[in-house]
Amino acid sequence: MNIFVFVKRVPDTESKIKINREAKSIVEEGLSFILNPYDEFALEEALRLREAQGGRVTVFCVGGEECLTVLRKGLAMGADEAVLLKDAAGETYDGLRTARILAKALQGKYPEFDLLLFGKQGMGADNAQVPSMTAELLGLPQANVVTKLQVEGRAGTAVREIEGGEEKVEFSLPAVVSAQKGLNEPRYETLKGIMAAKKVQIPVVPVEELGLDAAELAAGLEITGLDTPSERKAGRVLTGAPEEAARELARLLRSEAKVL
């Protein structure tokens, strides 16, 4: 089975986000960057499918050369190959632009694939757009936010999370699947894997060479502002015995906050 996993480099979830209001961008200095946690579930699933059924796993990333680190992490975890689709645009928050780049790269350079795996969303932009968009551009079925995946021959079954339950999705291959936490427990890289990944010469393909026109590479969003939400103020601490505090809390929720 030929599997492609799309990964993204994102700020660590414990990061405090600082903003440059003038540039309307996130201040990157001082942030530590990681492989998007949801992508780890996608990659782990790809590696397990390869181990069970054979095949190849390729990790792909759209971004600048700083993204080579997350591709190396993918290799260290066990991917066979990594490719950087080099893009200088930075974060555009436009999922369609990314999906067009991925779809074009696959059609032009890697048309043989069985499964395209993604994290359910890139942490940070939080768009959750690229998997469905890539599926549509390539005419493939999709299963998003998946916590269970089974592939047998040319057919797949996935369980996806919905409000208050789950949905079982049946599809034919090739297909797009996006991973949710709970799909598996991602492995740690081995020291040997890390050392080997360091030596790999990762192919770099500039997005300008994929054959997309200027309009397709233009960002579809015109950003007019970036701000932090107004900070919540610390409220009131209720003192006294638990019974008193509980009574006071119930009273305040009804008569002051008017939410119950």
Binding site: S15, K16, E136, E163, E170, A175, T228, A250
Partner: protein, 325 residues
């Protein structure tokens, strides 16, 4: 016209869909345009009638055998067929699990960028400005979309419902051209959570537990609280989920769900940045923690410094009394 996808499951419209319809109507009035609702599938006549009170001027009922079981491919095809006919200025969804699955598929089909999971829409100089939380709410991004039509999805539990008082209006039935043999993936089965529990993203009140809950068995205390209060659900912090005390679909925060209930109760949750990001848009936050230095108190409207196991039983009684009044 602005088209709004009205999500219905088993003939019943999701509240989030009516919220999206309501907000769209408010913005459409400012823009001087009309609102069309789109319902896909069969047996949705009653749902269509309800949409007029929530702001629809007109409702499109799209039917076809390929639309009987949900498939993003089939629904995107049916909606794009309708869009080609009525040329909407925008197509909006609610950002539910369904909306998040379908909206990007339709956006790519229409060649349009998508404003996902918006928490504010504003009309400025005749154009819509979208605001959406990024980094799970640590920052807010405001932007305009350059493409046409405009595609957007609206976060549930954020926009108030509208009541126009209208009980009927023009319903246009259409047969969708898409056939099921053109569809390569579809929902085969819906597996409901046990007891039909409400999802944290839909709940109006959330009773959430963290490391201070001490073990999986104590989450029953939170379930008891959520049974008392209407439209309530049980949430959890990452450390509770990673300890295996409760399933991941309860997790609130940056690797879980972003919620905005009327009241968020945090029991034994210290308040890590990634957790606060997921719940700080709650209208009211209540924290119960025995550590007076816990960062959660800095974000809480009401705090009780104390042992949650001593606070929950009297709180349960008080809530029962209050809701019986």
């Amino acid at each position: 016209m602005i088209l709004v996808y009205i999500e219905a499951r088993e003939g019943k419209v999701k509240k989030a869909a009516f919220e999206a319809l309501s907000e769209t109507r408010r913005r459409a009035d400012e823009l001087g345009t009309e609102v069309g609702g789109a319902l896909l599938g069969k047996g949705l006549e009653a749902a269509a009638a309800e949409a007029f009170a929530r702001g629809a001027h007109k409702v499109f009922l799209l039917e076809g055998e390929a639309l009987d079981a949900y498939s993003a491919e089939a629904e995107a095809a049916a909606l794009s067929e309708l869009a080609a006919e009525i040329h909407p200025e925008a197509v909006f969804f609610s950002a539910t699990s369904r909306g998040k699955d379908l909206a990007p598929r339709l956006a790519a089909r229409l060649g349009a960028s998508l404003a996902s999971d918006c928490t504010r829409l504003e009309v400025k100089d005749g154009r819509i400005e979208y605001t959406r939380p990024i980094f799970a709410g640590k920052a807010l991004l405001t932007f305009r979309l350059k493409s046409s039509p405009q595609l957007g999805s609206l976060r549930p539990n954020v926009f108030p419902l509208l009541d126009t008082g209208r009980k009927d209006g023009e319903v246009v039935k259409k047969a969708a051209a898409v056939r099921s043999d053109q569809v390569q993936g579809r929902v085969a089965e819906v597996l409901a959570a046990k007891g039909g529990a409400l999802d944290v993203t839909e709940a109006e009140v959330i009773f959430s537990g963290g490391r201070g809950m001490k073990g999986p068995e104590n989450f029953a205390l939170l379930e008891e609280l959520s049974d008392i209060v209407p439209r309530a659900a049980v949430g959890a912090s990452r450390s509770a989920v990673d300890s295996g005390w409760i399933d991941h679909h309860h997790q609130v925060g940056q690797t879980g769900k972003t919620v905005s209930p009327n009241v968020y109760f945090a029991f034994g949750i210290s308040g890590a940045i990634q957790h606060l990001a997921g719940m700080s848009s709650s209208k009211v936050i209540v924290a119960v923690n025995k550590d007076p230095e816990a960062p959660i108190f800095k974000s809480a409207d009401y705090g009780i410094v104390g042992d949650l196991f001593q606070v929950i039983p009297p709180l349960k009684d008080e809530l029962k009394k209050l809701l019986a009044e």
